[in-house]
Structure formats: C-alpha cells, structure tokens
C-alpha cells in the first residue's frame, strides 16, 4: 500500500499552473496539506461531483491542465461521469483516484473497490484509453508525468492505505473558496 499524502506530494511537486479539484473528505484534507493554493477547488460535500466539476473546469479552461483528486467512494458515486468524459475527450483532464477501498471519513467501512469493482477497468469500459494502477513506489514514480503531462483524458488508480497523519482543513467558507479560485484563474 502506498502512503496517500506522500504520493500526492510527489505528483504535485511540479504542478506548474495545473488546476486541482478534490473530492470531499480525506482527498480535500490531503490536497490542502501537501499543495495549498488558490487554484484548488476543495469539495466539502456533494459526493460524486468532483469529477464532473473537473470536466466543467477542463472545458472552461482548455489551456490549463486540470487534475481531479477523488476518493474511491466519490469516484464510484460519480462513475457514470467517466462515460461523459470519454465522450468529450478533454486532452487537459487527469483523474487521480486515491483508492483506500474504504469510507474512511465515516468510520472506515469497506468500499466497493475492496470487493469486486475495478475502477481502472470501469474507466476503460467507459472509453478511457489511458489508465494505470499504482501499487508500488516504482508505479508511483510514473504518476506525475502520466497525470499532468500525457494527453488526456487519463485516469490513475492509486492503491493507498488509510490516513496516518492528522487532517488539514481548508476554509469552509463556500463563497470565499469560489472567489479566491476565480480571481486566481480567470
């Protein structure tokens, strides 16, 4: 199992002008912990919508790389959006699924990817041509190039363990999150 915050820090070490979207819960805490920026759209709710929001952002900002950091639970809830993305085929969109195979935020109940669901295979079946699964440090070394520089849409599933570090909470002021993102980006 890879360490989620370490992998994310590695991916975002050279994020350049990429725009980030993180799903509710630990993905948002990890993004805020390792790469806080106005160009991060943190979700606090609306489970399943981080990936569709990433698509909307990628369409609105075709010159910028957009990377969605989603938990496996969020990805499963929005799983139909993978077909929508494949149909649109935005070259600037990457999806990083931090797959801990559990609903960590609500008490570490087992998730569907712990059972039979294979998110990377679902992405391929939805029309994604570029997917990868990272289980080792060697796999993880390929992630920054795959997620931030290869022509999209791309999706990487990263098999991670549960959080080991304390959560970092970004602002819960919704209008302020939007204002700061928009003034940094538009």
């Amino acid at each position: 199992m890879l360490e989620r915050r370490k992998v994310l820090a590695h991916v975002l070490e050279k994020r350049g002008d990429a725009l980030l979207v993180s799903s509710l819960g630990t993905s948002t805490y990890d993004l805020f912990a390792v790469s806080p920026a106005d160009e991060n759209a943190y979700f606090w709710g609306a489970m399943g919508l981080a990936v569709p929001a990433g698509l909307g952002l990628a369409i609105a900002q075709p010159e910028r790389r957009v990377l969605v950091v989603a938990g496996d639970g969020d990805m499963m809830m929005g799983i139909g959006s993978l077909s929508v993305i494949a149909a649109q085929a935005p070259e600037n969109l990457g999806i990083l699924v931090l797959d801990n195979e559990m609903f960590e935020e609500t008490g570490a109940q087992s998730g569907l990817s712990a059972s039979r669901a294979d998110i990377a295979e679902i992405a391929r079946g939805s029309g994604f041509e570029k997917t990868m699964v990272a289980r080792s440090e060697d796999d993880a070394a390929k992630l920054p190039d795959f997620l931030l520089r290869q022509g999209g849409p791309v999706l990487a599933v990263v098999k991670v363990g549960p959080s080991t570090e304390k959560p970092f909470f970004p602002s819960m002021d919704g209008p302020e999150l939007v204002r700061s993102f928009r003034s940094a980006v538009i």
Binding site: L19, V21, A41, F43, W44, G45, A46, M47, G48, L49, A50, V51, P52, A53, G54, L55, G56, L57, A58, I59, A60, Q61, G78, G80, S81, S83, V84, A87, Q88, G174, P175, L177, V178, F181, R182, V185, I186
Partner: protein, 178 residues
Amino acid sequence: MSDSLAAADDGWSAQVYDLITHSGISLVTTVPDAGLTSLLRLCGDDESVCVVTLSTEEEGIGMAYGAWLGGTRALLCLQSSGTGNCINALALPAFTQSPCLMLVTMRGQEGEGNPAQLPMGRAVKNVFEAMGVVCLEAMTKEDVVRQFKQALDMAFAEGKMVAVLIAQQVNGVKSFSK
C-alpha cells in the same frame, strides 16, 4: 408533420437559443427530453456552444460549478423526472452561492399518460424550493422566453439557483395510445 419537424418549430426554442448565446452561455449539459429536442439541436449546431450528454442530471450541477470556477456559464436542460436526481448535488451551488441555471420540461401534469411520471412531476416545485432553487413557471410559449430571461439575470447577476419549469401543455402531452 413529423415529430422532429414539429419540434424544430416549437415557438420558443429559437428565442431561448438566442438568449443563451447572447448571455455568454457556452456549455449546455443535458439528459434530453422530447420537449428539448429543438433547443438542443440549435445549440448542437453552434460551434460556440459545447453540448454535453450526461449519464445522470446531477453531473450537470457539478459541471456547471466547474465551468463557473473556470469563467464559463452553463445551462442544464432536463426533464422533470431528473430533478430528483439533483437534490444533494444542489448543496454545491447552495453552499458556494454559485449560479445554477436549469431548464426543465415538465411531466406528470394534466393529461399525463404514464402514471409513473406523476410522483416526481408533482414534487418538483416542492423539492427544488426546499433546496433553495427559485422556480419560474412557464404555462405558455411566451412565458418560456420571458421566464428564461428573468432566470438568466437571477443566476448570473445574483448568483442564484433558478429553474424555468416548462409546463407539459406548452409542448403537448406525450401520447401512449396504440
């Protein structure tokens, strides 16, 4: 006249399309409905408008939020049955006070031939208003244009969640007779 020809001249779509393009909306997302056929065709034929077919309506709420973050305006077009799919998704524009503009063709109203359409059709206004969505009802073709104009201002000048509900009688009732 075939259904598609009738839809192409439905008496409101051309004017709503003009309002869409003149107000700077460049993203139209949809799970389609028969009553939206003409409008979606007009938008689809326009290269300046990106039309995205969704797998479920709440994706359109997420996409509109992402588009707004990136400086683009979006419209979600859906049938009334899809409004129920959007409820928790509406927490996103509500929490962030972001624009959320929806155009809804109603089912489950007077003359509905499919009883399965009745529960959601009757509940649309109540559930939307419970989430803070302003509902503007359109009973005639003229209403659709007038209410859509108002909805544009409410969404993009005031940052509100707003839905124009097009009554079933505007586009005619779907027939289930054999």
